[in-house]
């Protein structure tokens, strides 16, 4: 038993090393193909957003409003850099903190209600933020969008100046920030606070009776997750250089839906789920680019099929195969000759 366990740990470590090397060498592998590097950078930003959405699942709530926090982060980043005169890094942190502050203000009334009500309220929140940005033309440019968000300023590293105004270099910056953010989220999932979150997830009434401050711990979770969503928005703003609050833009209801689908297709019970779901569905979207108008149909069908046939998502396939094999082995042991096919 311990032999297989050690083998699995080694395999996991090897997979992580291979992943890191591949991610690091990706611009070289793609030989600077701008199109694919743009997609990969957006993929990394989306993975962070979906992971932040997934961290709310830890307290058994489904948020449809993380697009709203990403919007706050993106516009805060853009306005702080363009009108506030701040540099990239302070405004990235500030935009995350602003999203977190808004979330903690909303958290108190929102987290008192549970279940589907919370989803409804977060959906309303995201749409409200979008409409405010859409109509507040003086500050945000309204439906024309906010154009000309500057790139991060160059950094001098080991005597070499690194500029972040190309896709090639911004890829490293975005992936670096996303990896750090994911490590923080992973830490929270393994830290002591996760016991309280799990207690709340499994039975919030019992958790409250045991002396756990249910609303308080839920608010901590919601605030952290909004912070990460804000950071992803800030990364997006400095990458795309222009922002738009249209219905069909990145900050509309449709994007909330996509994020949820990414999460569930990957498998919301695993930490790796958002990465797998976002990567697979981004690749599917690229593969169906020639039939772009049918592409939401493909994504929607995948979401429904995964929900019906793979409740644990793509990340849960190995576990499902294992249980299936075990069942088969048991059955074949019970019925040795000729009885293997019947159920």
């Amino acid at each position: 038993m311990s032999e297989t366990k050690r083998g699995r740990t080694v395999a996991k470590a090897a997979a992580v090393v291979v992943l890191v090397v591949v991610v690091f060498l990706m611009p070289n592998i793609l030989s600077g193909n701008k199109y694919w590097l743009t997609i990969l950078t957006l993929l990394a930003i989306n993975v962070l957003l979906v992971s932040s959405l997934r961290s709310v699942i830890l307290i058994n709530e489904i948020s449809l409003g993380h697009v709203g926090f990403a919007l706050i982060g993106a516009y805060a980043q853009a306005l702080l850099m363009m009108k506030g005169g701040l540099t990239f890094w302070p405004s990235l942190i500030l935009s995350g903190l602003l999203a977190a502050a808004v979330a903690s203000l909303l958290g108190h009334p929102f987290l008192k209600v549970r279940g589907i009500y919370f989803s409804i309220l977060t959906l309303l929140t995201a749409e409200t933020f979008r409409l405010v940005v859409y109509y507040w033309t003086g500050l945000t440019g309204g439906s024309l969008g906010l154009v000309g968000v500057p790139s991060p300023e160059p950094v001098t590293l080991f005597g070499r100046t690194v500029e972040f105004n190309t896709v090639n270099t911004y890829y490293y910056l975005a992936v670096g920030v996303v990896v750090i953010a994911l490590l923080i989220l992973y830490h929270f999932e393994r830290a002591y606070i996760n016991f309280q979150w799990r207690a709340i997830r499994d039975d919030s009434m019992l958790a409250g009776a045991l002396g756990i401050n249910v609303v308080g711990f839920k608010m901590v979770n919601f605030t952290i997750s909004a912070f990460m969503a804000g950071i992803s928005g800030g990364l997006f703003a400095a990458f795309q250089h222009n922002l738009s609050p249209d219905t069909t833009s990145r900050f509309g209801v449709t994007m909330s839906i996509y994020l949820l689908v990414y999460m569930v297709v990957g498998g919301q019970t695993r930490f790796i789920g958002p990465l797998i779901g976002t990567a697979v569905l981004t690749l599917v979207a690229e593969a169906t680019r020639s039939i772009a108008e049918y592409q939401p149909m493909v994504t929607g069908s995948i979401a429904i099929l995964v929900m019906i046939f793979l409740p644990m998502g793509l990340a849960g396939i190995p576990a499902q195969i294992q249980t299936w094999l075990r069942k088969r082995r048991l059955r074949s042991a019970e019925a040795p000759v000729g009885g293997g096919t019947e159920r």
Partner: protein, 288 residues
């Protein structure tokens, strides 16, 4: 200072919008309380209903028969959706499953609408043309007629739920699924009825909205969100609560843009919902 005419129109528009939200909220609340699902594709049913009316009227069918046909067609679609997609599966989290399946459905239906109906806005023929004089201000007749249809539909629904056997069975199933099952009420049949009625009401709302406003493949998301907010405001499962919630939202959406401009008005629903939740977490007329 805006003229009296503008205010009157804002109020009438607000009330008409509010009744559309009430119609959406009734369907959503039926599905939420009987099936326990959040049907996020309800806005797309509304859009499909409106477009069906549009294509029927293009084929020289009068608008009233077209609305009836569209309501019936959406009811059938609702039954099919319930049977194929929303029937509960053992061992699954109903909330997450329903949200994901309905969002997938949203993607499918809205992109089908983009492909099939095109991105250009269309409009239905008006229910009735002209306007009449109310306290010296011109009020368009079609708004009043839309309000009238919504009120009639709601009264019919109310009598159905309170006076007929099927309606009472649906209420019982919403109150206690297991208990009513023991009394011989099949929850799956109740879910089918809830989906059928909800989708028919959405088609009606879409057709009325299509004659007042415009048709667009993405027209459904805002009424759907406002319908959900109406439920939160009024309290789940309360018809008078939904009417109050819908009126509050509709009047806010009608009057505030005239008063303070669109940016301030778009925050109002969120503020109202937060205020209501702080003092009455179950909604204005809600109860356990």
């Amino acid at each position: 200072m805006k003229s009296f005419d503008v205010w009157m129109q804002a109020i009438v528009n607000g009330i008409a919008l509010g009744w559309l939200y009430v119609l959406m909220a009734m369907g959503l609340t039926l599905m939420l309380s009987i099936m326990g699902i959040l049907q996020l594709a309800h806005g797309e049913i509304y859009m499909m209903g409106a477009f069906l009316v549009y294509y029927l009227t293009r084929r020289e069918i009068g608008i009233y028969p077209a609305i009836v046909v569209s309501m019936a067609a959406m009811a059938v679609l609702g039954v099919i959706l319930e049977r194929v997609l929303f029937r509960p599966r053992p061992g699954r989290d109903v909330a997450l499953t329903s949200i994901v399946i309905s969002t997938g459905l949203t993607l499918i239906l809205s992109s089908a609408a983009v492909v099939g109906f095109g991105l250009y806005t269309k409009s239905l023929p008006p229910l009735i043309s002209g306007s009449f004089d109310l306290f010296g201000a011109g009020v368009p007749k079609d708004r009043i007629l839309a309000i009238g249809f919504s009120v009639v539909a709601l009264i019919l629904l109310y009598t159905f739920l309170k006076r007929t056997r099927l309606g009472l069975a649906m209420v019982a199933s919403a109150q206690n699924r297991e208990g009513s099952f023991l009394k011989g009420i099949n929850p799956n049949h109740m879910s089918m009825a809830a989906m059928a009625i909800g989708c028919a009401l959405a088609a009606l709302a879409g057709a009325l909205a299509g004659s007042i406003l415009q048709l667009h493949p993405y027209m459904g998301s805002l009424p759907m969100i406002n319908g959900l907010v109406t439920i939160v405001l009024g309290g789940l499962g309360s018809i008078p609560g939904a009417v109050i919630g819908g009126m509050i939202l509709g009047l806010l959406n009608g009057i505030l843009p005239v008063m303070f401009g669109a940016a301030a008005a778009s925050v109002a629903p969120l503020v109202i919902v937060i205020l209501v939740l702080l003092f009455r977490p179950k909604g204005i007329l809600g109860h356990e």
